[in-house]
């Protein structure tokens, strides 16, 4: 039995909107949840935080009927319920925004918004109404695109907004957001805040999962912390602050150290008047010195990903050239890019990063196999050894090279992807949203890693939609707006205002 911390959250007198008691869940090899309890009141924003693999998503999936608990009670407004499927959950008014995008990209935005809840006349689909209502829903989350746009044409961030709109629009009384902002940039995040507040005011209960503690501080009425699949404590409105949360999550205080700016000398990466497919009309030029950490900020859809993809040779470029240490890199060939010492950690982990059905070990060594092979033959021992080292270096949990990657939590999968590239000892490391869906603990490790690599003279370029991250990490910041670099900020010039100013298209401040 778990001691249930009392709370002074809003309206604690009436039976909670949603409550689970002593939920347990096992997966092959993992005990994801151990007697976890949780309670949500109407008109309350409950933040659930915890390190990667703490069990947040699993718990949410159980609440939404995607997975079934092995044991435990499930009460809606005090009534015991058995939630065995998504249908029952949504009947009970519970909607979940999944941590990973789950859209049908052969359909348009409107159809995705209403998937499973289509407005109907008899058996028929009421397209007119669907488009009408879709337009409204999109407006609410501030997404300016027609309901008939094919979803495939939207960038990650925009697709995420569609998912949010879907949940908000479902008329559910409980809306669960599993890291909704992980692919949103500042602008959209602010938008989301107002959406959440609006829901709150209409008596909807919101469960909000995020690794961005800043967001939690601004939004949450109450915080429940999970650690290793167990309740690790609660914080009421008053007691919500960064350090308190971190202490509960990791059970220790994290020391933040600020390092001096560095990275001088001949640029190792030199991008000249690059024109990408998404923004063929715009030119992008920048260069990075060894040991320098350059951040790229901007709103979703600014074209940051396109730039990284083009530099790494994933997409063909419309124009421009890329040089590493002076030698020109043939474009449109990731292989060439790798040969020249480039590496890219992509933004879409599930589709572009990990091999979900393959073992963690195999994942980590995949990219570097060729370099360590003898006459094209894999050297079994070296590989195993190497994999073990990498897993240890990045502290992947569980540290089992034979575990199938899909059973790792989001954050740990990200570490696996990083490991794959570190194994290559790149000269230039490109990171697209490197800490998307990564908890503070792991975040610190990733930051530490970036700095370590920088010390060793690796040039690092990272795209981030998290201003805090930009401010913390970058020696120099490029801000993008609609496919071009609208300004460059040195460490001195760097500030939230300056970034937002440039990101929203203001004239360069120089």
């Amino acid at each position: 039995m778990s001691p249930y911390p009392s709370s002074n959250g809003t309206a604690s007198s009436v039976a909670p909107l949603l409550e689970v008691r002593r939920i347990s869940k096992r997966f092959p090899g993992v005990h994801a949840l151990k007697e976890v309890s949780l309670r949500l009141h109407a008109g309350e924003v409950l933040a659930v935080i915890g390190e990667n693999g703490a069990g947040k998503s699993t718990l949410m999936k159980i609440l939404a009927g995607v997975q079934e608990a092995d044991s435990g009670e499930f009460l809606v407004e005090g009534r015991p319920e058995r939630v065995d499927s998504v249908r029952t959950a949504s009947r009970l008014g519970i909607a979940l925004i999944h941590q990973e995008l789950s859209l049908a990209d052969n359909l348009d935005v409107g159809s995705n918004l209403f998937l499973g809840r289509e407005p109907r006349r008899g058996v028929f689909l009421d397209r007119a109404r669907q488009n009408r209502e879709a337009a409204e829903a999109l407006a609410r989350v501030g997404l300016d695109c027609s309901p008939e746009t094919p979803i495939a044409l939207l960038s990650q961030g925009r697709q995420q907004l569609v998912e949010i709109a879907r949940a908000v629009n479902s008329g559910a009384r409980v809306i669960i957001m599993d890291e909704p902002t992980s692919s949103l940039s500042q602008g959209e995040t602010d938008r989301l805040y107002s959406v959440v507040r609006d829901l709150k005011s209409r008596g909807v209960g919101v469960i909000y999962i995020s690794h961005r503690l800043g967001e939690v501080t601004t939004l949450a009425d109450r915080v429940t912390v999970l650690r290793d699949g167990q309740n690790a404590g609660e914080l009421a409105r008053g007691g919500i602050n960064h350090d308190a949360m971190v202490r509960l999550m990791v059970g220790r205080d994290l020391v933040r150290h600020h390092r001096p700016a560095r990275g001088q000398g001949e640029p190792v990466l030199d991008v000249r008047s690059l024109r990408t497919l998404a923004h063929p009309g715009r030119e992008v030029s920048f260069s990075v010195a060894p040991g320098e950490i350059v951040g790229i900020a901007g709103l979703v859809g600014a074209g940051r990903t396109e730039v990284l993809r083009a530099v790494f040779g994933i997409d063909a470029v419309v124009g421009g050239e890329i040089r590493v240490a002076g030698t020109r890199v043939p474009t449109a060939s990731p292989r060439e890019a790798i040969e020249h010492g480039l590496a890219l950690v992509p933004e879409d982990r599930k589709h572009q990063g990990v091999f979900l059905e393959m073992a963690v070990g195999a994942n980590t060594t995949l990219a570097s196999l060729g370099h360590r092979a003898r006459w094209g033959f894999i050297r079994g021992n070296t590989e195993r050894q190497r994999a073990a080292e990498l897993i240890a270096q990045l502290d992947v949990r569980p540290p089992n090279p034979d575990q199938t990657a899909q059973f790792l939590s989001g954050g740990n999968q990200q570490k696996v992807v990083l490991a794959k590239w570190l194994a290559l000892k790149p000269r230039v490391l490109l990171l697209d949203e490197p800490t998307r869906g990564v908890d503070v603990g792991a975040k610190q490790e990733i930051y530490r890693l970036m700095e370590e690599l920088a010390e060793r003279g690796v040039a690092i370029v990272f795209v981030s939609s998290e201003l805090e991250e930009i401010l913390r990490m970058s020696d120099r910041t490029l801000v993008m707006h609609e496919g071009r670099i609208s300004g460059t900020l040195s460490r001195e010039e760097l500030s939230e205002e300056a970034v937002m100013h440039l990101a929203t298209g203001g004239p360069a401040t120089r």
């Binding site: 249908r87 789950s102 859209l103 049908a104 052969n106 159809s111 499973g116 028929f124 009309g281 419309v318």
Partner: protein
């Protein structure tokens, strides 16, 4: 619709060229045959399309046709059943087949390719076993029933519309409505492209898949009935062999993607028409039949390739336009 331009162009081209080379091609008689065959194969292709849209595949279509065909003739002539019971029996049988496929694939999580490959062998075997490998036929009896397949609705100028055409149109209309206008149809497309997303949205994915397989086998059953009525002599070991490939080819030609989630009924029918017109053209032009496979293979390939080119060209055009806009902006 854009996706269909390439294949439709191909159809028109072959049609035009052949009718120039030999005017008999557009004679009322030939067009009637052409329409009848297209209708018969169109029906089974629509079935195939449903399964393909769910991202699955049905290799047992041909064998189902064989089983239903021989079983019907066998029941009517050997067993002396009435027309009503017989039709009911064979249709039930084909629907049951589809149900079995659906259950095995959704509940037992077996791969569609495997399940239906076993079906391909199994139903052929059953057909041969039932009839003891004796070829079946209706002789001159059941001529009224046979009108379903060989009947004609005369219209002006010695030209008559074959009965199967109407059956095809009926089925096609229903299928198109189902796929485009109903909620279930929408769900089918969604699950075909991203099954997890569909499940997360509370869609009954399993039920829908099962429906798709039932429809496919059911239409194969209808096809089996019509084919056997049309041929009036059924060889259990031969009837329908390879038809699954024709059906799938037609569906794919018509723009269905085997990755699931894509496909239109119109497309499927055009795809079928292309195949039938090709076969017909080859005979009409007196090209040696042993060249037929080579030609059809080559033409289909050419068709798919041009289709691809068209798409790319369109894409490049769009990109160019955007580039222009970008420059001005």
């Amino acid at each position: 619709m854009k996706k269909l331009l390439g294949i439709f162009g191909l159809l028109v081209a072959v049609f035009a060229l052949t009718s120039i080379a030999n005017p008999q091609f557009v004679s009322a008689y030939n067009l009637q045959n052409l329409i009848r065959w297209t209708s018969l194969f169109g029906i089974i292709s629509i079935g195939a399309a449903f399964v393909i849209i769910t991202g699955g595949i049905d290799l047992s279509i041909g064998s189902t046709i064989g089983l239903v065909g021989s079983m019907m003739a066998w029941l009517l002539t050997q067993k002396g059943w009435g027309v009503g019971p017989t039709l009911a029996a064979v249709m039930l049988c084909s629907l049951a087949i589809g149900l079995a496929h659906g259950l095995l694939i959704t509940k037992m999580r077996l791969q569609p390719f495997v399940v239906t490959l076993c079906g391909l062998l199994l139903y052929r075997g059953i057909a041969r076993f039932l009839t003891d490998d004796q070829s079946q036929g209706f002789g001159n009896s059941h001529d009224t029933l046979r009108q379903l397949a060989i009947g004609k609705l005369p219209i002006s100028g010695g030209f008559a519309l074959p009965a199967p055409l109407f059956i095809l149109l009926g089925i096609a209309a229903l299928a198109a409505v189902f796929l485009n206008l109903t909620v279930a149809g929408r769900h089918l497309l969604a699950l075909g492209r991203n099954e997890t997303a569909a499940r997360f949205s509370g869609i009954r994915t399993d039920t829908l898949k099962i429906v798709a397989y039932v429809l496919c086998s059911g239409l194969a059953g209808v096809g089996g009935i019509l084919f056997s009525l049309d041929l009036n002599s059924i060889q259990p070991s031969g009837l329908g062999e390879f038809y699954e490939l024709y059906a799938i080819a037609a569906a794919v030609l018509g723009g269905c993607s085997l990755r699931g989630g894509e496909g239109t009924i119109t497309g499927v029918i055009i795809g079928t028409a292309v195949m039938r017109v090709l076969y017909n053209a080859i005979n009409i032009l007196g090209i040696p039949t042993h060249l037929e496979f080579a030609i059809i293979g080559a033409v289909i390939l050419a068709g798919v390739m041009t289709d691809e080119w068209v798409k790319r060209f369109a894409a490049r055009r769009r990109a160019a336009r955007e580039r222009a806009e970008g420059a001005t902006a």
